[in-house]
């Protein structure tokens, strides 16, 4: 990947909103009428409407995961959320055609600039619907599909239906059921056999409206021997009331395919970010989740890989930074279902101020498997006396020649390190920031250049005023 200029990021850059006149607004609350409203607005086929209604029943029936999850979940008032908002737009192929307010939003966030610089394709979602979607012509010629999920459902039902809801069934958890009932937006990507998309595809998700729930649904299918990297970024302005983001992301890596999925999330700190992400990896396939969680009030997200084929490989690399009033409850799941599958989890978290970070993991190897390996490393850094960190891995191993190792450690920034840096003229805040960046450095290096720059700056900003 070519090196590009660093992106200029301002802490408050995402903290603005426009008064948008929405053409479609499902209002607050969730009933079958809401679903009919969404289906009608989107001009959906009957089977999708029925799928949504079945999911609503599951959502209403399933309890909140309160026996292990944080009590803060109980503060979500589902009746007060607006489940669908849009201006009735179909995603524009040309930037000029994007509605003004939306264009201004993404211009301020630098989306089109980024595309011009290095992206192979970009999709931008504003509240419920994709506002802009564009992909380089050469990829189109190769047969690569990169569109919003609504468009994908309409135009490519034969590919979409085959995997939709298969990796993450509706009843996987309460929030996947919710997403299945009201999903809108998200990306659909299909990479034909043998096609290697050398530059990343990017989507940008933006919540503009207050008390809004964003429920994008993403499905990525990498056909045999293909390769693709997908990156997503998220922002929301700060509102008085909390906002819900509950996505479902399904990845399918067929034989020998490679998918890399990168998320840098910087929601404002009243967004409940409750996301289900899972991948299938068939024989010889590789799936790598790179997940960076900064911002949000509560994030619950455990990207997983189901290793279905021999020698499949799964990896989760995650960084979480929890500041005041934030709880980053993140982790990873590796479900081994075939011989000689390997998985790797590296998780680093930083808790600042009164922030709380949690690692929650699952590694499973049943008795009919042989030669499987997993390695998990979790490191937590605590910056202030009030910050908190938890680690809750669950490891379940049987079989022949399978091995698992898990290590976790908690520490603070070394006082000597800070002292030496301050002796060299750095302020305490700068020194702390440098130490934290050093802590995550080996992971950040694995991010594409633009994202690693963004990440370092986000860390710097979070560390400002954190000392003392």
């Amino acid at each position: 990947m070519s090196q590009t200029e660093a992106i200029d990021i301002d802490r408050d850059k995402g903290n603005f909103r426009y008064d948008v006149k929405y053409q479609y607004d499902a209002g607050t609350g969730l009933t079958e009428d809401t679903i009919d409203y969404i289906s009608e607005a989107k001009g959906e086929e009957q089977w999708i409407n029925e799928f949504r209604k079945r999911a609503l029943k599951v959502f209403n029936r399933m309890p909140m995961p309160t026996h292990w999850a944080t009590k803060d979940l109980e503060n979500i008032v589902f009746e007060n959320i607006r489940y669908y908002l849009s201006q009735g737009q179909m995603p524009s192929r040309s930037w000029e055609d994007v509605p003004d307010e939306v264009k201004q939003t993404f211009e301020r966030l630098g989306i089109p600039e980024q595309e011009r610089k290095f992206l192979a394709g970009v999709e931008a979602q504003f509240d419920s619907e994709a506002a802009y979607s564009h992909m380089k012509d050469a990829l189109e010629k190769d047969g690569v599909i990169f569109v919003g999920s609504s468009e994908g459902l309409k135009k490519y039902p034969h590919i979409f239906k085959k995997f939709f809801g298969k990796v993450i069934p509706t009843n996987d958890n309460k929030f996947s059921a919710l997403n299945s009932a009201v999903f809108s937006g998200g990306s659909f990507i299909y990479v034909p056999p043998g096609v290697k998309v050398s530059q990343p595809l990017q989507a940008y998700f933006r919540i503009n409206a207050e008390s809004f729930g964003q429920f994008e649904r993403t499905l990525i299918i990498a056909d045999e021997g293909s390769e693709v990297t997908y990156m997503e970024g998220c922002t929301a302005p700060k509102f008085e009331t909390s906002t819900l983001h509950s996505a479902v992301v399904e990845l399918v890596a067929l034989k020998n395919a490679k998918i890399q999925y990168i998320t840098v999330q910087n929601w404002s700190n009243n967004v409940f970010n409750l996301v289900t992400k899972r991948a299938w990896a068939e024989e010889g396939a590789e799936v790598k989740w790179i997940d960076c969680n900064i911002g949000s009030r509560l994030t619950m997200k455990y990207p997983g890989v189901v290793l279905k084929g021999r020698k499949a490989r799964g990896e989760v690399i995650s960084i979480a930074l929890a500041n005041d009033g934030q709880h980053q409850d993140t982790g990873a799941k590796m479900v081994h279902q075939a011989d000689e599958t390997t998985s790797n989890i590296i998780s680093k978290s930083i808790s600042v101020g009164q922030g709380r970070s949690t690692y929650r993991g699952l590694v499973q190897m049943p008795d009919h498997l042989k030669g499987c390996k997993n390695n998990t490393e979790c490191d937590a850094l605590l910056i202030n006396t009030n910050s908190r960190t938890d680690t809750y891995p669950a490891i379940n191993v049987q079989g022949n020649g399978n091995s698992v190792q898990h290590e976790a450690s908690v520490s603070k920034v070394s006082a000597e390190q800070i002292f030496y840096m301050m002796q060299r003229g750095l302020s305490e805040g700068e020194a702390m920031s440098l130490a934290v960046n050093g802590f995550v450095n080996d992971l950040v290096r694995q991010f594409p250049m633009e994202y690693s720059v963004e990440l370092k700056r986000l860390i710097d900003m979070e560390m400002e005023g954190s000392v003392g």
């Binding site: 292990w68 006396t385 938890d390 680690t391 669950a394 698992v404 450690s409 908690v410």
Partner: protein, 459 residues
């Protein structure tokens, strides 16, 4: 207790209220204790049976026993007493020994007069209730359980009459261990040993608790509670060997209440029971303490060992270290779920937790849930868990040196155990325990266990 009375008592199982009422009416305990028992019985009845979707019972599969199939035992025969005594010899160099069979005291060795004069107490709780009531009241029922077995803890407290108290006063140091045996003998007999171990300031001593079955083919149930209290500067070492027959369901719910500058050690060898649950909680309430917990479990056939631990640091500058090792054969299962909890004020904590599982068959299953909850920032806390098999390369080197595969495997397995065995810190006991483990292995054709070296040549 007359035979007639016992027969009436045995009309129903220990999960049944009629059984409890009869137990209470026949009990010779003081009214105050009876009142406690009634309160605990009500608690037992009000609590639901655990299910494996409860977080504290995650991965537990074999919760399939019926409490009503176990009864309070009948009086022990002289023959069984003689047999139990002849087999209560794991430690011969000891300060004293108490032997219980089916909750009943059958043997009590006097402690040296010198220790009596210093105020050392080592006797069944019922006896201490008469002779040292204030001491018993200071410790009895002071501890609860936080690791999921509230229902069984309440059941224990409702029925418990057996068990002992060991109290070593301030500045008393004793080299040779106190030893106790809890034998299960009668068919379907339910045991409720209660163990209170308390050390005054700067005392130093050790105690060995052995739980065994007199017969291999009789079903049994044991629900033991052990509470250790260490006052400032005390050095207490508690060693527990659980070797019931494999038709027994056993619970052991232990706590360690630790004051400042203490050194508390706990070590467990788990060999027996069809289903065994071991909960161990450490509460460090004073600064500068050093707690070490070790456990070795060897499982075979369809045994399930469910281990739950909690290391709570409530005070600064303390160390806690835990090492739990499991070696698994056949279709056996182990669960290790451990949590290190560091409170806001416990700065300077050093806490570690390690769980190592050795799978000796394809079908054995090890579950690990090591956890951390850290609220102080100036700490060093870490945990590690590994699950794997005997190393094929190591085995290959043994074979190259002319050592047979069978012998090599045994050496490697015993090498894995040794790190824990030597922590028992008593040569005679260590050798006897190695013998118990060897006995368990000799029943197996060790050659059948992994790794399959022949396959590796094709890798």
């Amino acid at each position: 207790m007359s035979t007639e009375a016992t027969a009436v008592q045995n009309a129903s199982g220990v999960g049944d209220s009629a059984s409890f009422e009869r137990h209470l009416s026949l009990s010779a305990l003081p009214e105050k204790w009876k009142k406690w028992k009634s309160e605990y019985w009500e608690k037992f009845e009000s609590l639901p049976l655990p299910r494996n979707r409860d977080e504290h019972w995650r991965f537990a599969k074999r919760i399939d026993f019926e409490l009503n199939s176990f009864q309070l035992p009948e009086p022990v025969s002289d023959e069984n007493v003689a047999e139990a005594l002849s087999r209560s010899e794991l430690v011969t160099d000891r300060t004293s020994r108490i032997v219980f069979v089916d909750n009943q005291l059958v043997h009590q060795e006097p402690i040296p007069q010198e220790l009596v004069d210093q105020g050392v107490v080592f006797m069944p709780i019922a006896e201490a209730m008469e002779k040292k009531p204030e001491l018993v009241e200071r410790y009895l029922f002071q501890e609860s359980t936080d690791l999921g077995s509230d229902k069984f803890h309440a059941l224990h407290n409702a029925y418990s009459e057996g068990g002992y108290i060991l109290y070593v006063p301030k500045n008393v140091e004793i080299d040779a261990p106190f030893v106790t045996y809890h034998w299960q003998a009668g068919p379907g007999a339910a045991l409720f040993p209660h163990i209170l171990v308390a050390g005054g300031a700067n005392s130093r001593f050790s105690v060995v608790d052995v739980q065994q079955s007199l017969f291999e083919d009789r079903e049994g149930f044991s629900c033991a509670v052990g509470n250790v209290f260490a006052e400032e500067g005390a050095k207490i070492f508690r060693k527990t060997i659980q070797n019931f027959n494999t038709r027994t369901v056993s619970f052991q719910l232990d706590t360690n209440n630790v004051d400042r500058d203490t050194a508390v050690r706990g070590i467990n060898l788990n060999l027996g029971s069809r289903r065994a649950r071991f909960e161990n909680e450490v509460r460090i309430n004073g600064a500068g303490s050093d707690v070490k917990l070790y456990s070795l479990t060897v499982s075979d056939n369809d045994q399930e060992f469910d281990q739950r631990t909690l290391q709570i640091h409530n005070a600064p500058n303390s160390v806690s270290d835990l090492l739990y090792k499991n070696a698994l054969m056949d279709e056996s299962r182990t669960i290790f779920s451990g949590l290190i909890k560091v409170a806001k004020d416990a700065q300077g904590t050093d806490a570690y937790q390690t769980n190592r599982n050795l799978l000796l068959n394809d079908t054995a299953q090890a579950n690990s849930l090591p956890g951390l909850e850290i609220e102080a920032n100036d700490v060093k806390c870490s945990h590690g868990a590994t699950t794997g098999q005997l190393d094929r390369d190591e085995l290959f080197y043994f074979l190259q040196r002319g050592i047979s595969k069978m012998v090599a495997q045994q050496l490697m397995v015993f090498g894995f155990f040794e790190e824990v065995i030597e922590q028992f810190d008593n040569e005679e006991l260590e050798e006897n325990l190695r013998g118990l483990i060897r006995g368990k292995f000799e029943k197996k054709q060790l050659d059948a266990v992994a790794p399959k070296l022949d396959d590796s040549n094709h890798d």
